[in-house]
Symmetry: C2
Subunit: 241 residues, 2 copies
DNA sequence: CTTGATTATGTAAAAATTACACAAAATATT
DNA sequence: AATATTTTGTGTAATTTTTACATAATCAAG
């Protein structure tokens, strides 16, 4: 980060931040990663201390190549989660003149999808936590608004991108996939129709595995077939429900 | 605009601008409004003098309520075109560290759709010009990239929003509407299927008017039926081609 | 009145979507 | 061991949507 000092401009400049909405899925519900705002070393950066908020922070003017880099850097610093810059999709800019009590701050919101199975261990549990979509606490700043916009963006994107597969473990079952789609789209599907449609796309391949069962009939395990998906996508296909 | 002076911060701040991609349609081709960059009064703000660029400019930290307000304000100042803040849709943030040679500048790109018939007279012809989509000159900064992203965003949005109707005059013909869809989606449609689909939506109403003819059969004139469209939209319809 | 350009129109075939019910697998219960 | 309970897997017929396709009407110009 740039050294603290005196930076002077002829006209006022806003501060710019990047915020991250990180979605995960535990097999039942959509989850979001939040952090607990601590007392920053710098008095000037203290705000909403003790409240939950989206991970994020200030653009480093001198070193962050883009705001997506800011998002990735801050996410790692605040939660321990290490994502690639290209995992972040931009949601939009939030620039209301009074959205930050300290000074004028424009934030660029991003969202990212992670496999909870992969990352749960990485997240620094003292300062961060995964919250169910249906049970989000009050958030600092306008982060509740950002969250709603990010979710609606995810809801849009699921029509065109295989977002389900970025949230599920490598190997998953049809009911899991269906439940995820239902969680994001907030609708219910007929099981047979859902299965038919998915099979029709030919982007799932069956996986033989040492059936670790549950309390009922053992579901078939699948893996996402990325090559087939890429081919379909090139021909302008629409993953629709 | 804030008075020139000395504005000091403990950490470096970027400048923030809003840029506008204003699309129009002349009945044949999609058009974009560009401005010719002049020598600004302030030496420090001079860059790419004499080149074509997107209208846009710096966020006024003290008075612009949001960056969309910046976009609206700058568009009016630079081209004479007076649009409402809610006519701007955000395209995205462009934040590459070297995108502006003067200092670190983050821009938030927006697009807007206008009826050329309405606004052509308003645009200040000395500094601004409408360019065919197929014939865009070299642009300042990364504005060519912004333009491409804005166009692809428009291409997406046309599936869900009646963007065609914001670009056409109040009264238009089916061939005009079809040509516009074809221009934006970069495909050709069968005339009968296009007409059937449009009629099926029931968002067009025929208009009787004093047939100002051309050199061929006089096409039927239509008007967009906003009330029916709003009703359809509430039920989650998808305007699709 | 013929030509050329443009617009309007309908239907049959194919594809996609929807609605819908029962059997199989596994565990828990008695 | 038999039974109940839960969850998963599967196919088909009816409906709707999409696609493919050709001819006749209107107008201006020559």
């Amino acid at each position: 980060m740039a050294k603290k000092g005196q930076y002077t401009y002829e006209y006022p400049h806003p501060a710019v931040t990047a915020d991250c909405v990180v979605f995960g899925y535990d097999g039942k519900e959509l989850k979001v990663l939040l952090i607990k705002r601590g007392a920053e070393k710098e008095a000037s950066t203290r705000a909403y201390v003790g409240q939950w908020a989206l991970p994020g922070g200030f653009l480093d003017v001198e070193t962050d190549k883009t705001v997506a880099h800011t998002a990735a850097r801050e996410l790692k610093e605040e939660t321990g989660l290490k994502l690639s810059v290209k995992d972040f999709k931009e949601v939009g800019t939030f620039s209301d003149i009074k959205r930050d009590p300290r000074e004028r701050v424009i934030t660029v919101a991003h969202y990212a999808l992670v496999k909870l199975t992969d990352v749960r261990a990485d997240t620094d549990a003292d300062n961060a936590g995964w919250f169910s979509w249906s049970d989000i606490p009050n958030l600092a700043f306008d982060h509740d608004k950002i969250l709603r916009v990010a979710f609606s963006r995810l809801k849009q994107d699921i029509h065109f991108e295989p977002v389900g597969f970025e949230l599920l473990p490598e190997v998953f079952t049809l009911p899991q996939l269906q439940n995820l789609y239902e969680s994001i789209l907030e609708v219910k599907f007929d099981r047979r129709n859902f299965a038919n449609k998915m099979k029709h796309f030919e982007i799932l391949s069956e996986v033989q595995d040492g059936t670790p069962r549950k309390g009922t009939r053992t579901p078939i395990k699948y893996r996402f077939q990325k090559d087939n998906y890429e081919r379909l996508k090139r021909n302008g296909f629409q993953l629709e429900f």
